[in-house]
Symmetry: C2
């Protein structure tokens, strides 16, 4: 068979499609025009335009979590990549695979130091596991296939493929077939007997993270807990957690440091599967950074990139629990219908009652959402996504990616107002793609979390200038016109009755809908 003649950009698109990468979150510029042209005449790639690259990279994160395969991004030179950097940080911490395609000046143009010239590899490296600049049109296909393979290294990796524009426009491109998906690393079998022995009663903890939190893996963990009496917890932030009625419910290590210390205090023996030993999100003067008790025996049976299902199965066998019915299976259980003004508790109850079967909840609710988790335990089965990198502005973009990965599932994006503003351009992409997302904005008009953090770091009595730097109420953001301006229908509510009706509206229509909740 004779390959048709193609340029580097065309070989890129053909190779990505052959490698099963068929979504591209993009904001292209001049140096990417040949890719735009290739995407134009080669069918098969869904190109999703973002009005700021943080939306594109955050969407790629959410997409990977739900699709289990990477999307590509198409970014304009160093600054386009830079705009997407903080959500790539979040994606990296979540173990999401993302294939960044970053345009570069033509090779001969770089040394001229044009206005848009920058050290793209240098910008990419801090958030990437894999960085490569393709040297010629002939290598673009091979580099793209290897990039996708690298992105699929468990649990998922950030790859940044930099393509000088002459490698795109020159002829001689060679499309490549898909490369083998790398298997996860084996778990630490030498640790197995010791781990099984360690899980013995309520002073022992099985701490799970990453893909240990699938429905089937959680069921295995539930059997182990039932048999051994150990406790189960997940990390505070989870890339993807399956939960709801009929599934093994798991609590998270709390975010606030004092609460985390208290929850972890009892455990003398901790087995880690896909989780890391608990540490503080931040350091605080006079408080420990290691959250477990002094002398706790912490065993890593499997790290994030290892075979977590294998580790759980083996542990279950070693604990002789394979026939034990799982503990902690959540019963279908919804809170009473609340009425009147909205409080954090009534809000949690309404969300629990609204979560649809097989819904996806993208959670960037920060302080407002701390009460949501226990109350939603008995809601219909659903998937819960956290921000794993702590950089705010992940929620609405991740909801875009999740909705595109799962067009038949409804997405609820729970977000604080401060977080939502970071990537507010997301609303336009939701409207453009007509995504089935209901956005809940928790409008407390403040970086509420920082008020607590001021106290935590020892600033007990902040004055007006400090308070002002944490306040979003001067002027108050108005989310209904904000959403309207970008083509998203919206409403504002301040009572339980209105919120219930708004959730019904948002979740019953297939278009995006935004609800500003006045807190």
């Amino acid at each position: 068979m004779t390959e048709p003649k193609m340029n580097g950009a065309e070989s890129l698109v053909h190779t990505l499609l052959a490698s099963d990468v068929d979504v591209c979150f993009t904001n292209p510029g001049t140096s990417e025009m040949h890719f735009v042209a290739a995407l134009d005449h080669i069918p098969g790639m869904r190109s999703v335009l973002a009005l700021q690259e943080g939306v594109a990279t955050g969407a790629a994160d959410g997409y990977y979590r739900m699709a289990g395969k990477p999307a590509s991004t198409l970014l304009h030179l160093g600054p386009g990549l830079a705009n997407g950097l903080s959500n790539l940080h979040n994606a990296k911490k979540a173990g999401s695979g993302v294939v960044n395609i970053i345009g570069e000046h033509a090779s001969t143009h770089i040394e001229l130091d044009a206005p848009l010239t920058s050290d793209i590899e240098g910008i990419a490296r801090p958030v990437s596991h894999w960085v490569r600049t393709s040297p010629s049109a002939a290598t673009v296909g091979k580099d793209a296939a290897e990039a996708v393979q690298a992105a699929m290294v468990a649990p998922g990796q950030i790859v940044s493929l930099i393509l000088p524009s002459d490698t795109a426009w020159n002829e001689g491109g060679l499309a490549q077939p898909k490369l083998e998906i790398p298997a996860p690393e084996p778990f630490d079998a030498d640790m197995l007997a010791q781990a099984a022995e360690a899980l013995d009663g309520p002073e022992s903890l099985l701490l799970l993270g990453g893909t240990a939190l699938t429905e089937s893996n959680l069921e295995v963990a539930g059997r182990i807990a039932a048999k051994t009496g150990c406790k189960l917890l997940s990390e505070w932030s989870n890339a993807r957690l399956e939960r709801g009625a009929g599934r093994v419910a798991i609590n998270r290590v709390p975010y606030p440091i004092d609460a985390a210390l208290k929850v972890l205090e009892p455990f003398k023996r901790i087995v880690l599967i896909g989780a890391r030993a608990p540490i503080g999100f931040f350091a605080y003067p006079g408080k420990p950074a290691i959250l477990t008790r002094d002398g706790a025996d912490i065993m890593t049976l499997a790290g994030a990139g290892d075979d977590l299902s294998g580790a759980l199965s083996a542990l279950c066998g070693a604990a002789d629990a394979t026939q034990t019915p799982p503990a902690h299976v959540a019963k279908a259980d919804l809170p009473e219908r609340p009425t009147g003004p909205i409080s954090l508790d009534t809000l949690a109850a309404l969300i629990a009652r609204a979560i649809p079967e097989d819904g996806i909840v993208v959670d960037e609710s920060v302080t407002t959402g701390r009460a949501f988790f226990p109350v939603t335990k008995g809601a219909p089965r659903h998937t819960w996504l956290n921000n794993c990198g702590g950089s705010i502005g992940y929620g609405m973009p991740a909801a875009i990616g999740a909705a595109i990965a799962c067009p038949d599932r409804k997405v609820m994006a729970l977000t604080g107002d401060g977080s939502a503003m970071y990537t507010v351009q997301s609303l336009w992409t939701m409207a453009r793609e007509n995504l089935d997302i209901t956005v809940l904005i928790f409008a407390n008009r403040s970086y509420q979390i920082l008020r607590g953090e001021l106290t935590n770091v020892g600033v007990g009595n902040p004055g007006p200038r400090a308070i002002d730097m944490l306040s979003l109420d001067r002027p108050a953001l108005q989310w209904v016109p904000m959403a309207t301006s970008m083509g998203v229908e919206a409403c504002r509510v301040s009572t339980c009755e209105d919120l219930e009706a708004a959730l019904e509206t948002g979740l019953s229509t297939p278009s995006p809908y935004l609800i500003e909740i006045d807190l």
Copy 2:
């Protein structure tokens, strides 16, 4: 005199104030809470909150250009810096001095690899001239003083000072006095006679950039042009250009490559003062990257960091032009009052008629604005700021910085809709600080520049998928509710009469005002 006991954060604030840095564009997080506390109880620093860090860094760029001294930014860890990176790229290319203060985890916490941990120095380096992590509370003051000094190296530098949170909260801070402002490097005196000789008639060009574009320097250049018959041009993008009636007018090297080649073709001898030899913004297949004619004799009398006033004065002396009246002095000359529908020409005329005396025009008008420059030549004297790094989203943030630097001057921000969306959060900060900015949104609902660039790179006949990736009309952005949602009054116009009235309204009130111009 006994120094009062202070922590590192307090020593930072005292040192910045002593170094004449009294504005801080910020979005702080937990690791910066001690700085927030210090800013709270130490008076003198104007803290300006931004809802996304691109606004903060872009504002610092605009501030430096108009104040001639750096502002500080206060950014939350690597991701906060990352969000501000593309506007730091623009600031770097503009030769603006910016003092970034970036919080970091406490020294002992970094090795734990918490969710927000990242390689901050690695993220900072590609956009910074100077990067340092302060090791202790005792060194913060000294490092801050040296950071400000480094930022003032001509024409201005990006400095990134990283402060682990324990260096902020520990006692032992030592406030430092202001260090000497470094003098610019001398110009190349050996080149002087040759340069003076080269400027002889219309085949010779004096190409200016950077601080060669002040009113007094332009006057000197005008004398040289009058005496020698050389032509004057500036670079396409200028950090700050003084212009308007009574000043020596200077044209820019055009952006579109064919136009640039044509304008530069006649010149056999080119003398550079603060400018670089003209190159293409991008490379295009089959077109040259060097825009000057083959064999042109290009002489650098002074680079961006050199003594540009000295170079111009010396050149003027060597050309025996000190008593020659300057050429190209712009006469007060306004275009006729246009009526009817808005075209690019009538738009330019209305802007020329609206520019107030001593107004500041922040220009990110991209394609729409290419006609503005000649028509505004005879407007009342004003200052014109370009985007020097090519990363869009610079305009509204830079307008914030300019307005804060010059509270008695009116600011017009001219911006395309695609560009404005990048840092749309700017509107909130304009409202919060009640800045005297009139924003003109050129709503062509497209990345119009890229349609031209598709053709330039050889893609003559784009199909619907390509067009769609460059279009912002699905859905159409609505700027009036957008502005309203962030507390900025706004209107939408589609006729000359309405635009004239809107400009009158916007420029006569001291609050921010947004005009969506339907193109």
